[in-house]
């Protein structure tokens, strides 16, 4: 069945006792067992270890991504952490995209480093740099593509080949494009990570995360961490995310179309220094972005002429666009990564990977694109 059918129906079956067409919200801590001998006969014992509502979402996401299993987490960061803990031990080494979400960078450099895990932040857009970063003790590659916020794109198939050749696990943070646009398992990756907060929910209602594994063996390892560390998703969040997923493809299509129109508008505006959107021909990796995924997504960034000072004035004055963290929701958001999402990345590292001070990030939502453009136009006039 097609993606749009599966995003609605996968994982959800009418409640057998009442026929309820939607999965009930099992806001329950524990499950009554029929007898000692029949312990776990119905599959559930305690909601940290498993919850029927969360399970429905896990089944849906596993189906949409085309994996063997999914483990839902309390946040996207908990999902990233779940993958790290599942595969990395003290003395191990992992290669991470050198432009990744600031929270991933912080987790590696400030938290997991304390437990003797070593990281190399490599430019994964250049497969050669990944090969060069592989060491004896390397076990994991985490690729974020397109990268947040630079939109730098990495070749998932090429890195997967490197991973296979060196017997490494290749995880891809697929939050920006979702399985609707980017089929990471078909490109050879082993694991897909999502902040479900973003496009899966899509309505700025929840924070959540998910890890989908290509094989049962990998999934079992992540699920073990999910239960052992307890960074689980709540039933309410799972239920809301289940609703959001039903419109994933239509939102992605429209938000991407809006993003393309906005990128083209900005590119032609005299006060804009540069625009970075994978759908633009001017995007350095436009060809890779076009072949690797079936859409370009709804994230882009631009720099106003006049750099940081001009960018701040625009962000402070623009109407309709909310100055906020988060991305992927139906509400359009405008973000200054240097002071907001990537504030914990050291200045030197930011400069090195291209998160320039004047970078203005846009998460394009579902509003009428004419309204979004005229709001930007008015704000640019004031700069």
């Amino acid at each position: 069945m097609g993606f749009s059918t599966r995003q609605i129906h996968a994982g959800v079956t009418p409640d057998p006792s009442t026929g309820s067409i939607l999965t009930p919200i099992y806001q329950s801590t524990t499950y009554v067992q029929k007898s000692v001998d029949e312990y776990l006969e119905k599959g559930y014992s305690y909601s940290r270890s498993g919850n029927p509502t969360v399970k429905a979402l896990e089944l849906k996401l596993a189906d949409l991504e085309g994996g063997a299993g999914c483990a839902a987490f309390g946040t996207g960061m908990a999902a990233v952490q779940g993958v790290m803990l599942a595969f990395l031990n003290a003395g191990d080494h992992a290669i991470i995209s050198d432009v990744a979400y600031g929270g991933t960078y912080r987790l590696c450099t400030k938290v997991l480093s304390r437990f003797g895990i070593d990281f190399t932040f490599a430019d994964t857009s250049k497969p050669g740099e990944v090969v060069a970063a592989v060491r004896e003790n390397t076990v994991l590659i985490l690729t974020e593509t397109p990268a947040n916020p630079t939109m730098k794109t990495s070749d998932v198939a090429a890195i997967s080949k490197i991973a296979k050749a060196n017997n490494l696990v290749h995880a891809v943070d697929n939050t920006f494009l979702t399985p609707y646009f980017q089929r990471v398992f078909e490109l050879g990756a082993d694991i897909s990570i999502h902040s479900t907060t973003k496009y899966m929910d899509g309505h700025n209602a929840t924070v959540g995360g998910a890890v989908i594994c290509k094989t049962q063996e990998l999934h079992d390892k992540v699920a073990f961490i999910q239960n052992s560390t307890g960074s689980i998703m709540s039933p309410q969040v799972a239920w809301l995310t289940l609703q959001g997923c039903k419109t994933l493809s239509v939102r992605m299509d429209q938000q991407s179309a809006n993003a393309m129109a906005i990128a083209q508008f900005l590119e032609s505006h005299p006060k804009v220094e540069q625009v970075c959107y994978p759908g633009l021909k001017s995007f350095a990796q436009h060809e890779l972005a076009s072949t690797q995924a079936s859409g370009y997504g709804a994230m882009l960034w631009f720099e106003v002429k006049g750099g940081l000072v001009a960018g701040k004035r625009l962000m402070d004055n623009v109407e309709l666009w909310s100055l906020a963290e988060n991305l992927g929701s139906v509400e359009s958001l405008i973000t200054h990564p240097v002071t907001m999402t990537h504030a914990d990345v050291e200045e030197a590292e930011r400069q090195r990977v291209g998160i320039i001070d004047g970078l203005v990030r846009l998460s394009v939502g579902l509003e009428d694109v004419e309204d979004l453009i005229s709001a930007l136009e008015e704000a640019l006039e004031q700069v």
Binding site: G19, I21, P24, Y26, T29, Y31, K42, Y44, P52
Partner: protein, 432 residues
């Protein structure tokens, strides 16, 4: 439940079979609009009420159903219907049995919303009401007309806290083969089970003590199952064939829960004042600790009554547990655990002193709700009734110095200390 349990046990268990699918201990939140039928025969028989089952969440919902059965069990009724608010409960209950040309005899000491419904809204549809002082039993008898179809009151009147003599009113209702409906929000079945005294149906704003945490709006109608609808021809909505359900006779089909069924078929199906599943879940959480909370509400109320009576800045204190209250004897009979946690009192210095008292207390929240876990106060003369003159205030039982207090679950010493701040502020005003 299979055998008789005490109130606290019923409040935790009634209405909830452990989820059959996964054994979930808590009631699942059925946040769904509709229910898939296994086949067309089941679909049509469920539609026709020939078999129980869920069709659409405006009419029934499994999570709301647990709350309905639990409240019915606590009240000792035959069935209950939950509604979107307490006012929706009152309205749904009345229109289930009354039609154009019918008449209500009601207590004059009731929640303003109830009075407004009967005085302003229902008359537009040809349903009129006479209001009688709750202490005037003969007045109730005299007010019954040929077209009277309902007697309505509150056991603990709002805001005057008058006590209605349930048995005396039930006797009058029985003489005329008219049902007696009580808004039992202030007493809940924990303080008084109204059906034990001849009341035929109760209404609750579940928003108040039953939910108890100020998080959700909801109401319920409980059918006492103790009114013989078939003994009179006054109630065609219950005893005549009901066209929308192929001429079904609700009284014959549903007997003791006929009244609740009529509400379900009409007020829920046609009007749709239904409770949301999430609301039912939140209210169920509150209901589980009702008895614990009420014991604390009541004990703190007793402490505060003593405190207020002894305070030199308090002009008067009104609560049915005080021997000076006109309904004290009735309160001892109907409300032996305590007559609720609403207290009204006067701050010496009148309107000018009541205002600074309210404005300066910090812990007590200044708002119009009652029955929250948090202590709430309001000064009716400057808020809800600020636009009427002194004479009209007296007629409504409200004096200019009146403060209405809904005693919360904070440590009672902290409530007292908070009131001292208010009294000091009131004193500064009256001294200047």
């Amino acid at each position: 439940m299979s055998r008789f349990y005490h109130f606290d046990t019923i409040a935790l268990h009634a209405g909830q079979a452990v989820d059959g699918e996964f054994g979930a201990r808590a009631t699942p939140i059925y946040q769904t609009t509709s229910y898939v039928f296994p086949d067309t025969d089941t679909a049509s028989s469920t539609f026709n009420l020939e078999r129980s089952g869920h069709v659409y969440s405006r009419i029934t919902n499994p999570t709301v159903g647990v709350l309905e059965q639990r409240i019915a069990a606590l009240e000792g009724g035959s069935a209950a219907v939950c509604t979107a608010s307490g006012m929706a409960a009152t309205y749904s209950a009345i229109i289930a049995i009354l039609s154009q040309g019918d008449h209500i005899v009601a207590s004059s000491q009731m929640y303003g919303g109830n009075i407004s419904l009967m005085k302003n809204t229902l008359p537009r549809f040809g349903i009129t009401a006479s209001f009688v002082d709750p202490m005037d039993i003969d007045g109730f008898r005299a007010a019954v007309q040929d077209n009277t179809r309902l007697i309505y009151g509150e056991l603990i009147g709002n805001p005057g806290l008058d006590i209605l003599d349930l048995e005396a009113i039930a006797e009058i209702a029985g003489e005329h083969q008219i049902p007696f409906m009580v808004d039992a929000t202030f007493n809940m079945p924990y303080l008084c089970r109204c059906f034990d005294y001849g009341v035929n149906m109760t209404i609750h704003s579940v928003t108040k003590w039953m939910g108890g945490h100020g998080v959700a709006i909801g109401g319920v109608v409980v059918d006492g199952g103790n009114f013989d609808w078939g003994a009179t021809d006054k109630y065609p909505t219950i005893t005549e064939p009901y066209a929308p359900f192929s001429g079904m006779n609700i009284w014959e089909e549903f007997g003791p829960s006929a009244f609740a069924t009529r509400i379900r078929c009409e007020a829920m199906r046609d009007i749709g004042a239904s409770m949301a599943p999430m609301t039912a879940f939140l209210l169920l959480q509150g209901l589980e600790t009702l008895s614990l909370r009420m014991d604390k509400h009541i004990s703190s109320t007793k402490v505060l009554l003593e405190y207020l009576q002894a305070h030199d800045q308090v002009a008067w204190v009104n609560h049915p547990d005080l021997p000076s209250h006109s309904g004290h004897e009735l309160a001892l009979k109907y409300l032996p655990k305590g007559a609720g946690s609403i207290v009204s009192f006067g701050v010496k210095g009148g309107r000018e002193a009541g205002k600074p008292f309210i404005e300066n207390v910090e812990l007590a929240s200044h708002l119009a709700n009652v029955g929250d876990a948090k202590t709430l106060i309001i000064h009716p003369a400057t808020t809800t009734h600020s636009r009427i003159d002194a004479e009209a205030l007296v007629a409504a039982g409200i004096t200019e110095d009146m403060v209405r207090l809904s005693v919360g679950l904070e440590n009672v010493e902290d409530i007292k200390a908070d009131f001292e701040i208010g009294f000091r502020a009131a004193k500064r005003i009256s001294d200047t």
